[in-house]
Amino acid sequence: MSDITIQSGLKSILGPGITDDAKGQAPKLAEGQKSFGEVLSDSLREVNQLQIDADKAIEDFSTGQTKNVHETMLALNKADTAFKMTMQVKNKIVEAYQEIIRMQV
């Protein structure tokens, strides 16, 4: 169900750049660049690792392994801040998605 007039209109405006083959394919990335999805999942993994590190720091303090309170508090604060930021990023993404869905084509 393709709209012939839109496609032919696009082709005339944008030249040979847009073709039927390129429809639906992700843009090619330069060497070493990561896709957005990869960046997101890497960041989530990092945040999770921070939570794990905070738990380990708590464990070490409770069992007397380390007497440094500041180490534990720093780890906890890092985990807390990272989590809060991730949560807000997720809220914004969902908001953006909902706004796009609401758009009337």
């Binding site: 409770s62 069992t63 807390d80």
Partner: protein
């Protein structure tokens, strides 16, 4: 899956709670020692839980506790919850009346306990706030 298991029974929470319990017990023991500073024949009591705790969790510095059989499990949450610190007797040499309470040492232990208790409470609250934030999704 009860709420208790879902929210409050992960390893860090159980460890923190156990740490708080031990500090409370230490507080009572130190208070008893201080109250009995003049009692002849009284031997100061002490709680030394850190070694047992570390052994149980496998977090010692020297060796990782390794299992000889793959079916041996690391201590489960229930084991951790059920661990009780043992009260043992101080081995300081006593004074002529048989009492070996060293008041300076007891005061230092008291300061230690109070700091540890405060720190653990703050950590517990901080960690709980992360969970709370996840539940409310940061929208208050």
């Amino acid at each position: 899956m009860s709420i208790e298991n879902l929210l409050f029974s992960d390893r860090a929470n159980v460890i923190m709670k156990k740490g708080l319990d031990v500090e409370m017990m230490r507080n009572s023991v130190i208070a008893a020692n201080i109250a009995n500073v003049d009692t002849p024949g009284y031997k100061a009591k002490n709680i030394d839980f850190e070694k047992t705790f570390q052994d149980a969790l496998g977090t010692e510095n020297q060796l990782k506790v390794s299992t000889t059989n793959s079916k041996h499990l690391a201590p489960g949450i229930d084991t951790l919850k059920a661990m009780e610190p043992a009260v043992d007797v101080e081995t300081d040499p006593g004074r002529p009346d048989g009492n070996n309470v060293n008041i300076d040492k007891e005061m230092m232990k008291l300061a230690d306990v109070q700091m540890g208790y405060d720190a653990l409470t703050t950590m517990l609250i901080k960690r709980g706030s992360i969970t709370k934030y996840a539940i409310t999704e940061g929208k208050g």
